[in-house]
Amino acid sequence: MIVLRTPGGLSLRLHPRALTVGATCALLTVAVGVVALGSGDYPMSAADVLRTLTGGGTPAEAFIVHELRLPRLATAAAVGAALALAGAVFQSLVRNPLGSPDLLGFTQGAATGALVVVVLGGTTAMLSGAAVASGLATGVLVYALAWRRGVHGYRLVLVGIGVAAILTGVNGWLLTRAPLMDAARAVLWLTGSLDGRGWAHAVPVLVTLAVLGPLVLAGAGPALRLMEMGDDAANALGVRVERLRLALLATAVLLVALAAAAAGPVNFVALTAPHLARRLTRAPGPNLLPSAALGALLLVVADQVAQRAFGGHQLPVGVVTGVLGGGYLIWLLASERRAGRL
């Protein structure tokens, strides 16, 4: 820990390892991003990409970078960061490493809204709006069902898993009601895909991250750390536990719903990024900033793998995160079991 102090009595606490992890992930995201912007049917060198980004390049290059590839990259980074930040908040709130929004029903809830729009036949904008709305509605439902003189971690996890199971069933039923063409589109959306994403997808997530991110990091980060010691301990230290938990749950659900609206329910980023971040920083606590940076990196890399690693065959990014994350989950369950925590 490094402490910076000014004569005026101001003091800042910095954790070099956490900052290094966050900065490294951010730099790697940029580096992979430059590669991603240069690869595709029209390959460009890194120098060309950078020149185009700074306003140079031919009109064709400018169109390809600014209108085709950059929005997709920005969506990937923003969705990854939003999911990871939400996952870190959730896991910390419910004090459970498995307490991630994809296991607690929020992503499934967002999908339900999207599927309803598919079945009824709506536009893409309507689909995004419905995903956000039903994701938030699921958040309210889970909170209300788990509420009993305050919401406690264990109840929230159990209620969330139950709601997730119900909504998965509902989603399956909705798919059978959709016309064949729309059902195919819906399945692609359900897998989580970044194909053809434009600025309209990236901007809502980016703006929300820019507004809520600093609020969560600076405003709630220290209190969230205390809540990991138990509600009583946090209350005794002057944290308004129930109020903060509601605010943080709402924020996390909003981030997940917006991410799902932009890229579909991309699985496992919210679960794995906070775990990996904690392993890298070796610091207890929610590790919010390193998690968000790592989430952005994970999804940008996963999308690059999905597009390029299988020759001419492009996969939806959700397949890649699903395979990687599923493997990670099995390993996590095995190691938690060995440590006697399960």
């Binding site: 800042l12 606490r13 209350n235 230290l237 207890p284």
Partner: protein, 267 residues
């Protein structure tokens, strides 16, 4: 008798189950107050109310004459500390790092770690004898050491009032005495007001300066141990026939349960 912390005509309970009605207690300033009573008499519930974890459905807890539920959370946390019965040490956290968390109510966005914070944390660890463990992970400590670390965290909060919910549970007898000796020293040397819930009547009689005896959600007696701990009162509160003699070590009252035959005769 001055009391910064008081409960007046409180009704306490969970959901629809009422534990106590019209409960009024005063915590004398600078006292080491111990709440005793049989299981389910409401002593932990009372402590939860005093520490504002439980909101009374009627009546109020007054801290410096003001309703504790209406005061800003941080301001209360600078006056009133609590060592809860079950706290979880986050995975892999170090001793000094955990103790430092007690400084939270004194910190802010631009005042994250002052020299004052540093000094108080070092003093708290020294006072509880965990300074040598500063860099050790809390997971690796013994039960007694861990409890001293939690106590150090509560001390770092620098509150004139400190509430302790069964601080000796889960400890073996040597560590129980160690923690209670430590509490007594903090009470005497630092002039803090302590309020503890204890299970062991003899510990309570030995360490407390003020006892509150409860049964069925009511205060049966309150006052110095010498006047509260009598054979008649122990029988009334705990239903335990006994003799009360002088503790040969400290001269405080010592409860000796009646031998089996006498107990059978008595019942």
């Amino acid at each position: 008798m001055q009391s910064r912390l008081r409960g007046t005509a409180m009704t306490l309970g969970y959901d629809r189950r009422t534990i106590a009605r019209e409960l009024t207690v005063d915590v004398p300033d600078q006292s080491f107050t111990v709440i005793i009573g049989p299981n389910a008499c409401g002593k932990s519930t009372l402590l939860r109310a005093l520490s504002r974890l439980l909101k009374p459905s009627a009546g109020a807890v007054l801290l410096d004459g003001e309703n504790i539920q209406r005061r800003p959370a941080r301001a209360v946390a600078k006056t009133l500390g609590l060592l809860p019965q079950s706290s979880v040490a986050p995975d892999g956290i170090g001793v000094a790092e955990l103790v430092a968390r007690g400084r939270y109510p004194h910190q802010g966005l631009l005042r994250q770690w002052s020299r004052e914070d540093e000094r108080v944390v070092a003093e708290s660890m020294a006072a509880t004898g965990v300074a040598d463990l500063a860099d050790r992970p809390v997971d690796e400590l013994s039960g007694g050491q861990r409890q001293r670390v939690w106590l150090a965290m509560a001390l770092a909060q620098q509150t004139p009032l400190l509430l302790l919910d069964e601080p000796t549970t889960y400890l073996d007898i040597a560590h129980q005495i160690e923690i209670l000796d430590l509490c007594a020293r903090l009470h005497e040397e630092q002039g803090r007001t302590l309020v503890a819930v204890l299970h062991d009547l003899n510990h309570a009689a030995r360490y407390a300066t003020h006892l509150i005896a409860m049964r069925d959600g009511r205060v049966v007696a309150a006052g110095p141990p010498r006047s509260v701990v009598t054979a008649a009162l122990v029988e009334e509160v705990f239903g335990l026939p006994c003799r009360v003699i002088d503790d040969p070590e400290t001269g405080t009252p010592l409860v000796v349960p009646a031998a089996r035959r006498r107990a059978e005769v008595a019942s």
